[in-house]
């Protein structure tokens, strides 16, 4: 039994290694046939033309546009909500707000994507007078909503773990509650806030269904947030179903998976390092 316990502890490492090995195993053919720099900077993603072109750049930029948009929307809103819930909100509202945000976290992504199609995209289309409401911005807004529960709860934890004495010291010196929050609590909670943003980025880059369904899926290099884009994740989800197993295209999709794995690995590692940095 104790051997089984030890093995179970180690199996987590095994899974991470296995994921990496399988992504590498299936994409190594692709990366040896193509030049890595050429792939990462290639401007055309035409996997089924003759000859096929496997440039990741439009997809990487698509992911970047949508992620940046989502983070720009989600971080300030989450900060405000986290500060309000942990420091300001009257006690009886606190739990209502927290439950509301937990509820948001529980909605499956495919459902949020559907709501994005029927409710948000017509709205975006009308406001900006676009031919289609399926744009990078539409995806960013929906992804911001998906990322907010994670970001809010980690910032909240960071704020509540700031020692009480810091706050009392500032208040005793005559600072207002808001001055205390801005000058004392937020700086002390800073590593936690950075970790929250990192984890938010990790979630947004990796989200698939929302971007697949509401960003328009055009593999072109985006110049505006009001254009349709196609992300790395959406490309895999959309094309893996129809690809011929063992073709260059198939290996290229695993190559995209490998890029996603490596990027999210480092983003999450950074978040973990910030979370474990003890400041007090």
């Amino acid at each position: 039994m104790e051997a089984a316990i030890f093995m179970s502890g180690l199996i987590v490492i095994l899974f991470v290694v296995l994921i990496f090995v399988f992504l590498l195993r299936e994409s190594i053919v692709f990366f040896t046939n193509q030049n890595l720099l050429g792939v990462l900077s290639g401007k055309d993603w035409y996997p089924i033309s003759d000859p096929p072109r496997f440039g990741f750049l439009p997809l990487i930029l698509g992911s970047l546009f949508v992620t940046l948009g989502a983070i720009v929307i989600a971080v300030p809103l989450s900060m405000a909500a986290a500060i309000y819930i942990s420091e300001v909100a009257p006690h009886r509202f606190k739990n209502i707000f927290k439950t509301g945000i937990e509820l948001l976290a529980a909605i499956p992504s495919v459902v949020l994507a559907f709501i994005g199609i029927v409710a948000l995209s017509p709205f975006i289309k009308n406001i900006f007078n676009l031919p289609s409401g399926l744009t990078a911005l539409t995806g960013s807004i929906m992804l911001a909503f998906m990322a907010m529960p994670t970001i809010v709860s980690i910032i909240e934890d960071a704020i509540t773990s700031v020692p009480r004495s810091y706050k009392e010291g500032a208040l005793a010196l005559g600072a207002t509650h808001w001055q205390t929050i801005r000058r004392v609590i937020l700086p002390a909670a800073f590593p936690g806030i950075i970790a929250a943003v990192m984890l938010g980025i990790g979630r947004v880059i990796g989200e698939t269904m929302v971007v697949l369904m509401i960003t328009g899926n055009a593999a072109i290099i985006p110049t505006s947030i009001l254009q349709p884009v196609r992300t790395l994740t959406a490309t895999v989800a959309a094309e893996m179903g129809e690809v011929i197993r063992g073709s260059q295209h198939y290996y290229a999709l695993y190559g995209i998976g490998l890029v996603l794995f490596v990027v999210t690995f480092f983003v999450n590692l950074m978040a973990d390092i910030f979370l474990h940095r003890k400041r007090y």
């Binding site: 992504l23 509301g100 529980a106 495919v110 559907f114 907010m148 989800a237 794995f261």
Partner: protein, 281 residues
């Protein structure tokens, strides 16, 4: 403007933003319930889809999702609990433990579509299981593992140290202490965490795309080596792959998935509250 006025403005602004985040949640639920409830009928729940999924029910998708939840639990619960026991009761603070912790964090952060690719590469192709309930459950189980480990670890750590000391002082071995004293007291937390992890797995689409989900399969699976329809994938199919599906059917399917996920979430919250009240220490 003095400091007090600035504070008032900021606090009101933050309150408004908090409401701005919560309000869409309420709107989303209202839209789904308002448009979906009229579709809910015994026929919709218990019949197979007809006319290219534009009529009939969603029974195979409901059953498929239930199978996947069950399969995911069978693999991830024992593995997750044992891993948590190792980390809290056996591991000392050394580099190996730190690596395991980093692995858990990263497993939790791997994009769901990458799990899909991994499941396809390892289970479907390499182990040659084929797209099936087994391959899909295994993929979802690995994805759910970090949630279950983290929740179980917290539950185990919440058991007071004195419980273990009393057990040791009576001459019990470490395994006896863990299995007879620590684990029974941690079970409520483990159950709650498991249900929450499974409710997330139930709503996932990307990991099952290439490992189990069937576009249209109007019969129930005969074995764990069969493909199944699943609710999240069915929602994706109905909203993007099949033209002119009646809205009633789309919203009805979403409502069923939402209800399933929420029944799981609410029962987890209820169990947590129930056990907390009965807690003896």
């Amino acid at each position: 403007m003095n400091a007090k006025q600035i504070q008032n403005i900021m606090f009101w602004l933050m309150a408004a933003i908090t409401v701005l985040i919560i309000l869409p949640v309420i709107i989303i639920f209202s839209i789904i319930i308002f448009n979906g409830y009229s579709a809910l009928s015994p026929e919709f729940i218990f019949a197979i889809p007809r006319m290219g999924m534009k009529a009939g029910g969603i029974f195979p998708a409901i059953i498929g999702t239930l199978y996947l939840i069950l399969g995911t639990m069978l693999f991830s619960l024992p593995l997750g609990v044992l891993a948590a026991i190792y980390l809290t009761e056996y591991a000392t603070e050394n580099w190996l433990t730190r690596i395991i912790e980093i692995a858990i964090v990263n497993l939790a952060g791997v994009p769901s579509i990458v799990y899909g690719l991994f499941g396809l590469g390892l289970f479907v192709m390499f182990l040659n299981i084929g797209a099936s309930i087994l391959a899909g459950s295994l993929t979802l189980a690995i994805m759910t593992l970090p949630v279950i480990i983290t929740a179980s670890r917290e539950a185990l750590m919440a058991v007071p140290k004195s419980f273990r000391e009393v057990s040791y002082s009576l001459g019990a071995s470490r395994w006896q202490t863990v299995s007879k004293v620590v684990l029974p007291n941690a079970i409520p937390g483990i159950i709650t965490g498991t249900i929450l992890g499974l409710s997330r797995a139930a709503g996932e689409t990307a990991p099952i795309l290439f490992t189990v989900a069937a576009f249209y399969l109007p019969k129930l699976p005969a074995s764990i080596f069969d493909q199944v329809m699943a609710l999240p994938y069915h929602i994706y199919v109905l909203s993007t792959q099949v033209p002119n599906v009646p809205e009633r059917i789309q919203y009805g399917t979403i409502l069923v998935l939402i209800l399933m996920v929420f029944i799981m979430n609410i029962s987890a919250a209820y169990l947590r509250a129930y056990f907390r009240k009965r807690k003896l220490w």
